[in-house]
Symmetry: C2
Subunit: 407 residues, 2 copies
């Protein structure tokens, strides 16, 4: 992408309302634009990061046979009334709206009810199970406050996966499989070493569920963890009984802030029962389907990664999700000629700062703020060595690399 022909632009400052690093830096660096608190647009660079995260998740889920679909935002109250969750008393973050032809609709905060209802058309027999389906879909939650940039949105992008099984044992083993897949996803996007499965409340159907919590100063959750982090638990389940269950003593635990980037939940028959999702087993006996659900907050994940890696100069993206690998800057006529040529051959790899009338120092500052993994500078000096200068954004280390390596 050529910066001269793009509205990818850095801003001097973000609104003073952006009190978190992710909100302020992503705004200043031209990744997002705030419409209102908790409601953001994703500009070209930001959309590329989102799409890169989606690709990693999609690849991991498709590999284990999950199928992608796209469900509606507007929600018919019917299935939600069967589980009691259309009520604002039960679920206090609904956005509701009215059909002009009459009747109330909701904006989906999650999709357990409609996907369970949908599956009634497609699940009849044990031969139809197990199946699992996921989507990347905008979710809506009517939060009273939303002050953490894209860490907590009123409108946000989520990956939600639902699985359907004949037995609780099959659900159990699928759940374990997803635990591993999630860890692989968090590894690949660059936060594997600070993201842990965390015991959380399991609701009324299982003692615990698992959240995936990333240790993060501005995270809204509090977790307790032991030294090797083999045991991490959410403050909400920090009781004597739970510590006994986990075989850990209070003095062995430390505490930290964390951001929930994913959660996985054995729903058992909580939704399939009231929505009457049944299958016929081998003996033609009707049984209720077992269900699990597994979420990843995709836009929140982007915000978390921004927070984790940012330094005092700006954003620092892991290569796996960076919008481009290289930030290209040319100095002098020969530098520009060579940079044009390099860009022409492989435009997908470069954000090319070909803007005229800026000092090199300004371009360097923008490159640091935007945070692509490697900055490439081409000048008379580097060309004398038939090379370009590559600077790693994370370490700041520079090296010459042969120009011929890029062709």
């Amino acid at each position: 992408m050529k910066m001269s022909q793009s509205f990818v632009k850095t801003l001097r400052q973000a609104s003073s309302e952006e009190t978190t690093k992710n909100g302020a830096l992503l705004t200043r660096a031209g990744y997002i634009h705030k419409e209102m608190a908790g409601i953001y647009d994703f500009l070209p660079l930001g959309l590329k990061v989102l799409e890169n995260i989606k690709s990693i998740i999609r690849e991991e889920l498709n590999q284990i046979g999950c199928e992608e679909l796209l469900m509606s935002t507007l929600q018919n109250p019917e299935p939600w009334e069967k589980t009691g969750r259309f009520s604002n008393q039960q679920v206090d973050i609904w956005f509701k709206t009215e059909l002009s032809s009459g009747g109330e609709l909701g904006l989906a905060p999650t999709h357990e009810e409609p996907i369970t209802a949908l599956m009634k058309s497609y699940v009849k027999s044990y031969k139809d199970l197990p199946i699992s389906a996921y989507q990347f879909q905008t979710k809506f939650r009517n939060e009273k406050r939303a002050k953490s940039g894209i860490l907590r949105g009123r409108e946000f992008l989520m990956k939600d996966l639902y699985s359907f099984h004949t037995t609780p044992e099959e659900l159990e083993s699928y759940y374990d499989k997803i635990m591993k897949v999630y860890q692989s996803i968090f590894n690949r996007v660059g936060i594997g070493d600070i993201t842990f499965p965390c015991f959380a409340s399991g609701g009324i159907f299982s003692k615990y569920s698992h959240e995936f919590q990333t240790l993060l100063d501005v995270g809204e959750d509090t977790v307790y963890y032991n030294q090797d982090k083999s045991i991490v638990l959410n403050k909400e389940v920090y009781t004597e009984e739970v510590l006994n269950d986990l075989g850990v003593k209070p003095e062995e635990l430390q505490t930290a802030n964390a951001a929930e980037v994913g959660n996985i939940f054995k729903l058992q028959t909580k939704f399939t029962d009231p929505l009457d999702l049944k299958f016929s087993d081998e003996n033609n006996v009707e049984k209720v389907v077992y269900m699990g659900c597994y979420g990843i907050g995709v836009s929140r994940l982007m915000g978390v990664i921004a927070e984790v890696y940012a330094d005092d100069k700006g954003l620092v993206w892991p290569e796996s999700i960076a919008p481009f690998k290289y930030h290209l800057i040319a100095i002098g006529d020969e530098g520009i000629k060579t940079a044009n040529e390099l860009y022409r051959k492989n435009p997908e790899s470069f954000l090319y700062d070909n803007r005229e009338g800026l000092r090199v120092g300004e371009k360097f500052a923008d490159a640091d703020l935007i945070g692509l993994p490697q900055r490439i500078v081409i000048s008379d000096k580097t060309l004398a060595e038939k090379s370009v200068e590559i600077t790693d954004r994370k370490t700041g280390k520079s090296d010459l690399q042969l120009l011929s390596d890029f062709s």
Copy 2:
């Protein structure tokens, strides 16, 4: 995709409410699932078609330097109030909702206002222009009736592109460029020969705008056209004055139903003026930005293509947007062994009907209903010729093709 491990399934019948071919066939063939009138889920096959259409549009737009972004669904009333369009009197298809912290929001039916407001952060000087940005975003329109399958949705997928210019001449020439790009898009998705630029009302800022209308019996618009279809006009502008303008006589025109698959519009300063989007020219004089907008109804387009190509056996997809190229069916042990091998090598190309316990006739009927471009049958008979039998879905013609051609 293996049908045995998927919830891609055909249904005996669609709901009797599905009175259009697209609604009924896409439902029966497992592409879509209706939540309510005008509100559909896209199942795995349907999502693939949508994504294929998106890829074609994206490729064409990126080629001419358009940048992709993603704006929010929830709409701050502020910019809409400046153009008067937040009022339900002015725009009668709003879905509105309430923030729990107070204040009314809208669900975006289109995005002229917010993108114009957004550009105020990124457009300062003539050097920043022209720019153009587009998105694929769900739109919401509170239609009183929605009975045409995915041809008219209350929630639907749209590609909307906006361009910003220093002069009306520059806008004019960009508009002409988009005319050509749109024709190329409609060619590539398979409806180029029955889709025409059509004179429509230009509102108060230009005499005409252009719609792209696809001739279609169930289309909701009526168009008039001359013999070589060099002149096509919407019934809404069929007046003596307009016929004079176009130099055509009533007796030279025929009439037909048509579906609007795209529209392009020179907005001039209709939105940039009230929203105060200005730039400084070469002499540092502030001027109002000129603007154009260009839409394609992506999910409607999918419905239109389904309608256009369907026959009495089911759907017929053009190869460019088909969810898979081949529908693979094996007969007998050797056939299954070979089909497994073929599938393993290139799973992306095949929908593999490996379901057990179905008669071949049932599989053939499902293949016809699902409508992939080519059906491949592998049996002892074809293997004796080291071949597979390929049947073209559109023509029904069968041929043997060497198995080695596929490896």
